[in-house]
Symmetry: C2
């Protein structure tokens, strides 16, 4: 069966998704991309054509849509005959796009939890705030909805499930480490939308420890991690979607998320936050202009997409898992290393977008093959990890493991 794909969003991640869908369009059918700004969609299709990325001759069309309007999205799904929707637009769109999928029967994939634009930071239990409330609705409609199918959340959830299936009898701790050891050459820039980026860190930091939610302040808990390829890197505990779903679905008592930050990021973040420049609340200038400070900061920062051509270095993202195996304590690190320049050469995006976008396409491919077409809502760790990791290997994100036997590539 021909499965037309509709990509929602036209940022850096959407660019990666478009290229990877094109490279595998024999498995899909027609490709469509839609966002608020038609020209951005067209630029992405131009980039696909420039690289001659379509595996077989086929359709790739651009559309304008207000994805906050679920009726408009449903209409577009029908008119494009799409049966797989990959939502890589803003985090504010999940609920409206999901509604359109339930209404039309199309499969739904996203890469991050839904957020309410009016809230600075969503608090745990993250998936239970919005997505999981619609589990029954999906199941009743027979709609496949795969949540958090980026790298983190996404691939790291599959790593956790793989560890539970193959490497442990009992898991005590999962530390998810996300290090970007790359350099964009700018004095300061965020790797994705500054508004979403800063919002992640302006609230409390939540972790799952001793089977309960624990709260800390941002940059309160830092730790140096000795990692393959990128070496020793300092990362800070922060909240992240998958801490919630992994702890619940795999019943692990300690799940923490650690993100690497350089001194520059911490300094800029601290100044902006303390001065009120990360605020979502409008201020009025002496001249009477009402404006949201964070929107001004966003307007001044480099467009994350513009960083890609000069980006060098590597990312290292993975799970350090501790527990018991055949009566003995065990620790493994399951991870991927991606290269910014390689990503740019292949799909015109930097490594952060690449690692987020490729897994969503892998999920779409597994829906197309039927392996993951589960006709209900699922987080990644609820699905068989091996087909996914195998697919990722072929798509450019191989899986490595470091355990008592050393450091090696895993094949599936």
């Amino acid at each position: 069966m021909k499965r037309n794909v509709l990509i929602v969003g036209a940022g850096g991640v959407a660019q990666v998704v478009a290229h990877k869908c094109a490279q595998n369009n024999d498995l899909f059918g027609d490709l469509h991309i839609a966002s608020r700004t038609l020209s951005k969609c067209k630029m992405i299709i131009d980039s696909v054509n420039d690289k001659d990325a379509m595996k077989t001759p086929g359709v790739f069309e651009a559309h304008q849509v207000d994805a906050m309007d679920s009726g408009a999205v449903a209409e577009l799904i029908r008119s494009t005959d799409a049966t797989i929707v990959i939502n890589v637009g803003s985090a504010f769109l999940n609920m409206t796009v999901m509604t359109a999928c339930i209404e039309t029967g199309a499969a739904y994939i996203d890469t991050a939890i839904h957020e309410d634009p009016a809230k600075i930071c969503e608090t745990p239990p993250w998936y239970a705030n919005y997505e999981w409330k619609r589990r029954e609705e999906c199941e009743k409609a027979g709609v496949t909805a795969i949540l958090g199918a980026g790298f983190d959340p996404g691939v790291v959830n599959a790593y956790a499930k793989l560890a539970a299936d193959e490497y442990f009898d009992r898991i005590d701790e999962i530390d998810i480490i996300d290090i970007n050891a790359g350099s964009h050459g700018q004095w300061f820039a965020t790797n994705f939308d500054p508004e979403i980026n800063f919002r992640e860190f302006t609230g409390e930091v939540w972790s799952w420890q001793g089977s309960k939610w624990v709260s800390n302040k941002m940059f309160e808990i830092g730790k140096d991690w000795d990692l393959p390829v990128v070496g020793t890197q300092r990362a800070y505990m922060t909240g992240h979607d998958e801490v919630h779903s992994i702890s619940q679905n795999l019943d692990v008592p300690n799940v923490r998320f650690w993100m690497g930050f350089g001194e520059r990021y911490i300094t800029v973040f601290t100044v902006l936050k303390n001065l009120g420049l990360l605020s979502e609340k409008p201020v009025v200038t002496a001249e009477g202009v009402e404006v949201v400070p964070l929107k001004v900061v966003k307007a001044l920062l480099p467009d994350p997409a513009s960083l890609a051509p000069e980006y060098t270095g590597k990312t290292c993202i993975g799970d350090i898992v501790k527990g018991e195996w055949q009566g003995a304590a065990r620790e493994v690190f399951i991870y991927n290393v991606a290269d910014h320049a390689d990503a740019y050469a292949e799909v015109g995006s930097q490594g952060i977008s690449y690692t987020a976008g490729v897994p969503a396409v892998a999920a779409a491919m597994l829906i197309a093959t039927g392996e993951w077409d589960v006709k209900k809502m699922a987080n990644i760790e609820e699905l068989p990890p091996k087909p996914f990791l195998k697919q990722l290997d072929t798509l450019g994100l191989p899986t490595h493991i470091r355990d008592e036997k050393g450091d090696r590539l895993l094949s599936f």
Copy 2:
């Protein structure tokens, strides 16, 4: 002769000027204060009345005026019968207020060079850019115009002139040091209008060395200074009005200005500047709001006037002068130490406003007594320093000297 005074401006310095004029109103006549915002003028008069500051019963009236309109200022000078105008409004008003004084014959006093709102930073030769172009006009009209009669510029110019008159046969170097060792208790705040404050430091740093202008970057040249009362303090070379006039009028080959900055200030300044948040050029947010980033920063920072009640600690500002005296090398430091809490107790302002405002009133008093009523334009170092320093002593800003004989109070 009764000399009515018109104060232009209603910020922290105007508050000090108002109190000090009130405390000496027997020497003046009626007092008037005018700014764009009438309520701010009224609040200042209320504060004068609250402290029962008027030495003798008299008039103190508030007026609304757009001081960018010289005709409106001239009209107000005539209607108030003012013969001395103390301009302590924004640095953008000098030329229009001076025009009104020339037109009406009133004496003019300011505390800083004129700035063009469209320029980020005026470059040397500062006084020659605007003020000195009108020297002949003032002389022809017989108008006394005293430029830069704050602390720095102002009192430090008088210190330089005193050094030239009494302590040196030849001056080789003058280093003007401005240290605020006080604490406002906020995470970050500027001591005066953030817009003016940051603008001072966003351009190149100009100093007069080897009888020519030398350019450096901000925070490029820092030096620790061992100072009385406040101890060792790090200060950074920066441009300042008086470097120009002192070097020209006293023919000194090396004049440098050093301002003390804490680590916090430097960090915040560096982040804001590098991100473009100190820019005067409007940006447009993704939502289409056009706004000047610096105005947003200003709207978020604490109102400098609000800092006064909690301000503690001292300022130390003065001139380190090096040269020759009776055939031998000599070095002296002529300086004042002011206390933030004392300033607040007396006039309801912090020490930075106090040291800037009191000298302007001392100058007005010397115009009223005739000692400085020179009927032409003059910078402070062109006028006899002793009457000024004597007046400052009685007004709360005594002069100290540290030389080969030790550290002591000077009396005049």
